[in-house]
Amino acid sequence: MKLGKIFKEFIHVVQENPDYIIGLLNEKGRIVSCSLEEKINQEVAIHTNNPDQRIYKIVVSNYQYGYLWISGPNQAIDVVGKLLFDSLKTRIQYELNQKSAKEILSVDDKLIKEFLNDERSNYRQMEELMAKINFDRSLPRIPIYIINEEKFDKEEITGLKYKINDKNTIYSLLEPKYLLIYKSLPRKLGKSTTEYLNEFIQEMIEWGLSDCYYTVGSIQMDIDLYNFSYRNCLWLRENVLLKKDKPVYFEDQLFSYFTMNVPRTLTANVFDYYKKKTEQMDIEEFIQVVDQLYANDFSVKKTSERLFLHKNTLLYKIKRYEELFNLDIRGSFQGKMMIYSLANFLKSQSRKQVGEK
């Protein structure tokens, strides 16, 4: 922190008011910086009784930065003096906080870079980084990947450290538009993980990370799997329809994840008969309808509301799919799974990403 540079800002403001002179004294009382240049290097008695002067000892975070010396009209010197002193101390504290947050963030950045490194070679460096921030590796963590189409404000993201205030939650701005948080989870939650994370994400949104997409990967205890859980977030970004400020959880999409990761030749063989039948319908609409049915526990009422369709219109579409594929979608669990697998297969053939038109 450059105190001299900060103090120059104070000098410029005080110079606008000719009634006052301010100086920064070293511990011996010598003026090292002053709004009246000719006073520099003069000595001031630290324990003065002069009614037109005030001297304040500048101590911030248990460190002494010398003294603030103020000279001005007796009637207002206490108000102005205290305000200048308070502003100077606050500014020093602000700069120290920023410096400390940036230092910690730099470790977070390096550590996350190591976690995401496909060729994990430097375990020793990772251990050193974890030791620097007292990273408790016995805690479970979950990655929250946040996408901002505009790009994040770097300084604002530095300030996020104060809001999160948890040394075991680390984050890094991977790219101007992508922020990755490894959120630590308490050993005893007292509520469901989703409930806990929804509250955390809601706090992030209210704090200022609004108008963003949120994808949440799998919970991991083993740091070797952090890269995998980050990739879960990327998979969600590429394969699930995201809505701004509505988190999407990997664990809610497991079925889709597994079916989409089955070798394509296998699914192509399994669904060949059904694929031919899809030539008679709108595939994109089919995928959308089945996705929403799945997301809403196959409730026709809720799904029709989500799709802004009349309930009867949706029922008509479902009946059409049932007739076309000879499946019982509404009554049978197997039918539901079959139709969802088919939709995922078709989706895997025409993937769309966030932001793609």
Binding site: L83, L84, Q93, N165
Partner: protein, 162 residues
């Protein structure tokens, strides 16, 4: 782009920059409005207060009318605002003039564990102002530092005040 109010606080130490420092990062404010009609004609004080933060974080001293005008102004930059009112009377004046706010924070007037009833810490006029603003839909809570929990209980007491 309109102003987003992140925190409203009543604190008679309003020129005490530490209050703003403790809160601005926590609530992600980039402008701090101090509402104190007694200091609005003193640009020197406003400039000194601004020195507490780098220029990217704005600080201003306003009267109630100036605050309302500031809130109305459309702007290109994002403005996350933290407002510190000098006292309950000034806040009441703002609410009477159309300032709408759902929650207002006050620092704990005593140790949290010792907290009693409103009349132990606030004058009859202040309690009347609180009750009046509550009828306008504003909730009050005590919270001194960012990591304290919000305490609404003292303002919910139904016992006759004073």
């Amino acid at each position: 782009m309109s102003v987003k109010i992140k925190l409203v606080r009543v604190d008679n130490r309003l020129l005490h920059a530490t209050v703003a420092l403790n809160w601005n990062s926590f609530v992600n404010a980039n402008f701090i409005a101090v509402v104190d009609p007694t200091h609005t004609d003193d640009p020197f004080l406003a400039k000194v207060l601004q020195l507490s933060f780098p220029k990217k974080k704005g600080v201003g001293i306003f009267s109630v009318d100036q605050l309302l005008e500031f809130l109305q102004k459309d702007r290109e930059e994002k403005c996350n605002l933290m407002i510190i009112f000098k006292d309950l009377e000034v806040l009441k004046e703002a609410i009477d003039k159309g300032f709408e706010i759902s929650e207002v924070q006050l620092p704990y007037p005593a140790s949290r564990v010792m907290i009693k009833q409103l009349d132990a810490y606030y004058s009859t006029e202040e309690i009347e102002a609180i009750r009046y603003m509550q009828t306008k839909g504003t909730r009050f809570f005590l919270q001194t530092a960012p990591y304290d929990s919000k305490d609404y209980s003292i303002f919910k007491q139904t016992k006759k005040d004073g």
